[in-house]
């Protein structure tokens, strides 16, 4: 909703210089008053904050472009020694000490990221039964197979019928040593946009979880952090 009218009293125009000074005073009184110290952003990035602080900070990060940028720079700085590996439409890295696999989507548009397929891959358990078929949908995928020991990932992106500005993303995790279904539950999948955590899901017995209603335009800013059950180091 926008306000289109000028509600100043008729015949009493305000001096523009006064408005400029008032704006300047407002900036000095308000500028980043609600922002946490940068150290708190760093502790968030390192996973050192208590749950209640994480929730508060995540809510702030949703709105604050400056904290988002500072956090992204800190994250890049902290990650720079761990080299990214290239994938098709994404890059990935495996943090051996925590057992965490991070997949970051790379590309300018969904079309040049996802490899579009006419049918879901046949070797994906129960995928077909989870999704309804429709004539006006597109299915694409990113696949990381045989790159990390005992961990395979397929990320399926599917545009919504009659709502192509949103998509559903299915993350399928296979851990070969577990022998497949029904032993694939328990992998934590954290979805982030520009380093800001959006949500965390846990995979089901098929090794799947679905993120729905994701704006298609956001897809190229997403990353997925996967932590298979039992992989986390206690150190």
């Amino acid at each position: 909703m926008t306000t289109k009218f000028d509600d100043s009293p008729a015949g009493k125009p305000l001096d523009n210089n006064e408005l400029v000074k008032l704006e300047a005073a407002l900036r000095t009184a308000l500028y980043r008053q609600d922002c946490p110290e940068v150290m708190v952003l760093g502790e968030y990035q390192l996973g050192l904050l208590a749950e209640v602080e994480v929730a508060r900070l995540a809510a702030h990060l949703e709105h604050c472009p400056h904290c988002q940028a500072e956090l992204a720079r800190l994250a890049d700085f902290l990650a720079e020694e761990i080299s990214w590996q290239p994938g098709e439409g994404f890059r990935w890295r495996w943090v051996k000490e925590t057992g965490q696999l991070i997949i970051q989507v790379v590309g300018e548009t969904l079309d040049n990221v996802a490899r579009w397929v006419s049918q879901p891959p046949v070797d994906q358990l129960a995928y077909g039964s989870l999704r309804s078929e429709g004539p006006d949908r597109s299915v694409g995928q990113l696949a990381l197979l045989k790159a990390v020991e005992d961990l395979e990932v397929i990320i399926m992106v599917e545009t919504m019928p009659r709502q192509t500005n949103h998509c559903a993303i299915t993350v399928q995790i296979n851990i070969p040593s577990r022998g497949g279904w029904p032993n694939l539950a328990g992998t934590e999948v954290t979805l982030k946009r520009n380093e800001v955590k959006l949500t965390t899901h846990i995979t089901n017995a098929f090794g799947q979880t679905i993120f729905e209603g994701i704006p298609t335009a956001d897809f190229t800013q997403l990353s997925f952090e996967l932590l298979p059950a039992g992989a986390k180091s206690e150190a």
Partner: protein
């Protein structure tokens, strides 16, 4: 505890030797360096902290030079090295954090690296605040706002009082977004429109909402405080 068998200087010596071995072979025993961190962070042992500073200041310096925004600061690297260690001492010696860090040398060093980045980011954040302050003109600012510690008077306007008045003046979600983005985040109308295209159809609509809000706030200020607290024009 290893510190029962070794003095701090012996631990520091072995830590140095293991770090050198790591440089040459890629292998080392991190126990000695880790024990120094444990003593410093969990037992607040200042001698251990000095040994850590000596051992890792060169590494911290390399991180300062590699931080992408360091050149924007026009400061000496030493300033940020000292600031990073001060931050680590202040934050990592909190019991919960110290406990989480003291099991792994890589976690301690990652924390120190984060302190380097945060010191530089905080410096630049403060610099931006200073720019905004000087844009008002320091003389005007002091004339306009009283210190928050001064005794309140009828004509005194503090920054919190201005924030309160603004909150009371805001009448719609569009105005709240404009206030937050314009003055809380210092964003231009074009950016505000891009952030909230569902609220603001055009850039002009952002400017109009802002102008209306400023005018009403100005009237409220005059009503509550008169003209005495307002910076003179020109």
């Amino acid at each position: 505890m290893m510190s029962s068998f070794f003095s701090i200087s012996q631990l520091a010596e072995r830590c140095r030797a293991e770090a050198a071995r790591y440089q040459q072979t890629g292998q080392s025993d991190e126990a000695y360096c880790l024990e120094l961190f444990r003593l410093a962070l969990r037992e607040h042992n200042s001698e251990a902290w000095e040994a850590i500073y000596t051992q890792y200041q060169a590494l911290a310096a390399s991180w300062v030079y590699r931080y992408s925004r360091f050149p924007q600061t026009n400061e000496e690297a030493d300033f940020f090295i000292n600031e990073a260690f001060a931050r680590m001492w202040r934050f990592a010696s909190k019991p919960e954090t110290a406990k989480k860090l003291s099991f792994s040398l890589s976690k301690c060093l990652r924390f120190l690296k984060m302190c380097v980045g945060s010191a530089i980011e905080e410096y630049l954040r403060q610099e931006r605040r200073d720019v905004l302050l000087y844009a008002v003109g320091l003389e005007d600012y002091e004339e306009f706002f009283v210190s928050e510690t001064d005794a309140p008077t009828n004509s005194a306007l503090s920054a919190p009082a201005l924030r309160r008045l603004l909150t009371e003046t805001i009448q719609s979600e569009a105005e709240r977004l404009v206030a937050e983005d314009s003055w809380g985040y210092d964003l231009a109308p074009r950016h505000i429109q891009l952030r909230h295209p569902d609220v603001f159809v055009t850039v002009e609509s952002v400017s109009q909402v802002k102008k209306n809000l400023l005018k009403r706030l100005r009237r409220k200020l005059k009503k509550e405080f008169g003209d005495s607290r307002w910076p003179k024009n020109g």
